[in-house]
């Protein structure tokens, strides 16, 4: 097959009817750019949701006492030896955090609220939202800090200020209530008021003293790069015998389901956009083929095989698609960079928070998505050209020459 000739003819045929081909090219560009940008927004949404879920004291993997999820009390706790951390390759591990997290009641001079009281070692909390949080006042100094940090939203509910005292009541290891006064070190800001209202932090040793037991209710593990939680889960399950090892999908099933849905959404969005585009492409190609049916007839009359005519039409579509995809991806990537700082969705912050997202949507460009868009677009382009190509060879050379 004279491929060079077919490439030459197909490329030059694109220069015919410049306005019509330009309009089609623009349609492809807009569709591909739209898909590229939308995909990056969906990925941004997807990974923001995952990161929020992981940073929300969950981590990629968490170790809990059996029954803790049903009854999150100090009775569902466990002890850890001094050298409790198993060997995990440093490049896979972002960090560990051992905590106590139990329900409690917090009281100010004016209000009372139910909270999750969390004892932490601040040095370990780079793996959670607490590590990046901004404070009004001070953060906790160390694991023995006897002060508390509370969320700004909770502070507003309690009508309190930095430096004032709060009383917290929780259940001790012996089942009896413990009551203790704490001075407020600072207010933290978190993504979403839900976290700010629910979590109150103090040093873990302080909370262990309060419940009168040197125990922990959870060990949270954050991994680097692509989470390998499933392989590490097996390692941890062997190491922490008698405890429950869960990954973030099991701990945050709603976020995990949304994560999977986002993968599907990328395909659905692509199919909708390309589906609409294909009709335009088929229509234009049929018009182009019918317009030069005499010429195609002549080509066949002088000896071009039907297969070569099909390849010529397919190549035309492929070239058009390739050009459109290249420009479209360029525009899409440009849009992603323009929106690189993120799209401010503060107006819909409450809804975003319910979806487990921050109020700023940062698009996330992923090379496999670009390859997918480019590859599938080319496949669609070829498929769209098959019917016009078939129309081109269905007419006999003699019929074509008579037109």
């Amino acid at each position: 097959m004279p491929l060079k000739l077919l490439v030459q003819l197909s490329a030059r045929n694109l220069t015919r009817h410049k306005r019509r081909n330009f309009m089609l090219l623009m349609a492809i560009c807009v569709a591909v750019a739209g898909v590229t940008f939308m995909n990056s927004l969906i990925r941004g949404f997807q990974y923001d949701m995952q990161e929020s879920a992981v940073a929300n004291l969950t981590g990629h993997v968490k170790i809990l006492a059996p029954g803790y999820l049903d009854d999150p009390s100090i009775q569902k706790s466990f002890e850890l030896a001094n050298d409790w951390q198993p060997d995990i390759a440093a490049e896979e591990l972002d960090g560990w955090a051992a905590r106590i997290r139990i329900p409690a009641v917090i009281m100010s001079e004016r209000e009372t609220r139910g909270i999750q009281f969390v004892g932490v070692d601040p040095a370990q909390e780079s793996i959670s939202f607490l590590g990046d949080a901004e404070y009004d006042g001070e953060s906790l100094r160390d694991a023995s800090d006897r002060r508390v940090v509370i969320g700004r939203a909770l502070a507003e509910q309690l009508e309190t200020k930095v430096g004032r005292r709060l009383v917290i009541i929780t259940q001790g290891a012996d089942g009896l209530n413990r009551e203790m006064g704490f001075r407020i070190a600072g207010f933290y800001d978190a993504e979403g008021t839900g976290l700010e209202k629910i979590f109150v932090f103090t040093g873990i040793k302080t909370l262990q003293d309060m419940v009168d037991a040197e125990v922990f209710t959870e060990v949270s593990i954050k991994l680097t790069g692509t989470p390998k939680e499933f392989s590490i889960k097996a390692v941890l399950a062997k190491y922490f015998t008698g405890l429950v090892v869960l990954d973030w999908q099991e701990l945050e099933p709603q976020a995990a389901a949304m994560f999977v849905f986002a993968d599907a959404a990328i395909f659905i969005w692509f199919l909708i956009m390309m589906g609409a585009l294909i009709f335009g492409l088929v229509n234009t190609l049929i018009t182009a083929v019918m317009e030069r049916v005499r010429e195609l007839g002549m080509l066949r009359a002088v000896g071009m095989r039907p297969g070569a005519v099909i390849v010529q039409v397919v190549l035309e579509s492929t070239f058009m698609m390739a050009l459109g995809v290249a420009i479209g991806i360029g525009i899409g990537v440009g849009l992603v960079f323009l929106a690189g700082e993120g799209i401010d969705l503060t107006q819909w912050a409450q809804g975003m928070e319910m979806a487990g997202m921050s109020s700023k949507l940062v698009p996330r460009l992923m090379i496999p998505d670009l390859i997918l868009v480019a590859g599938l677009s080319m496949v669609f382009g070829v498929l769209a050209s098959l019917y016009p190509a078939w129309r081109a060879v269905k007419i006999t050379p003699l019929e074509a020459l008579r037109r």
């Binding site: 071009m304 095989r305 297969g307």
Partner: protein, 236 residues
């Protein structure tokens, strides 16, 4: 010793018009020898173009057989017919049918590209063909930039560049004025006499018929007269 290039035996071609068959050709028998210049003549509807198309493998006879250069066309597939046309025949069409996005040189070259001939040989032969037809200075012009006569010359160059066994021309002068027609026929005569190209034309133009050595008249799909032309114009 003569050699048969075209042999038609009992060629019949019917078209179905509703329930009634319409006869375009009715049992045509004739042969064309190598080096002949034959004109198929007759009024519209006489079957001359149909016969030319059947010889060229663009149409199949309903009955009878057609042989070109010893190959029976009836049994060939579409792809085999394509190869036959590519390698054994040259076509000159009424409307030139050059490819508008290719230059005159590229239009002549592309047939050889289909044949798989290398770039250097293609260019040399295409330039030679254009030069022999007197339009070598127009090789970079596209068809839209050429006159009707120049386009027809380029079309002839495309048809002869592969040294076909048979050159088929369907109403080659239909879109040309009398001067361009005369020039065209001088070219065809030169090809026939100097290079021995076998030519079959379908025409109702008396000037074209006048240049052919043999004239076959058709009427209602049948040959009514097959004569040798004794009054060919003197070469200019």
């Amino acid at each position: 010793m003569t050699e048969v290039v075209v042999r038609c035996c009992g060629v019949t071609r019917t078209y179905q018009d509703e329930a009634v068959p319409v006869y375009a050709l009715r049992g045509v028998d004739f042969e064309v020898q190598r080096g002949e210049f034959v004109s198929l003549a007759g009024p519209s509807g006489s079957g001359k173009s149909t016969l030319l198309n059947v010889i060229g493998g663009l149409d199949r006879p309903t009955e009878g057989s057609v042989e070109v250069d010893g190959i029976l066309l009836n049994d060939l597939s579409q792809s085999e017919l394509s190869d036959m046309r590519l390698n054994k025949m040259g076509f000159v069409f009424q409307a030139y049918n050059l490819i508008p996005v290719l230059s005159a040189l590229e239009n002549v070259e592309f047939i050889m590209q289909l044949q798989g001939i290398g770039a250097a040989e293609r260019a040399e032969r295409a330039r030679g063909a254009l030069a022999s037809l007197g339009i070598s200075e127009l090789e970079h012009r596209r068809p839209g930039e050429l006159s009707g006569g120049q386009q027809q010359r380029a079309a002839i160059a495309r048809a002869i560049v592969t040294n076909p066994v048979l050159l088929l021309a369907d109403e080659p002068s239909a879109n040309l004025d009398s001067q361009a027609t005369e020039e065209l026929m001088e070219l065809l005569r030169g090809l026939n006499e100097e290079r021995g190209v076998t030519i079959v034309t379908a025409t109702h133009d008396p000037m074209v018929m006048g240049y052919a050595k043999r004239r076959i008249n058709l009427r209602d799909g049948a040959i009514v007269e097959d004569t040798i032309n004794e009054a060919i114009p003197v070469a200019k």
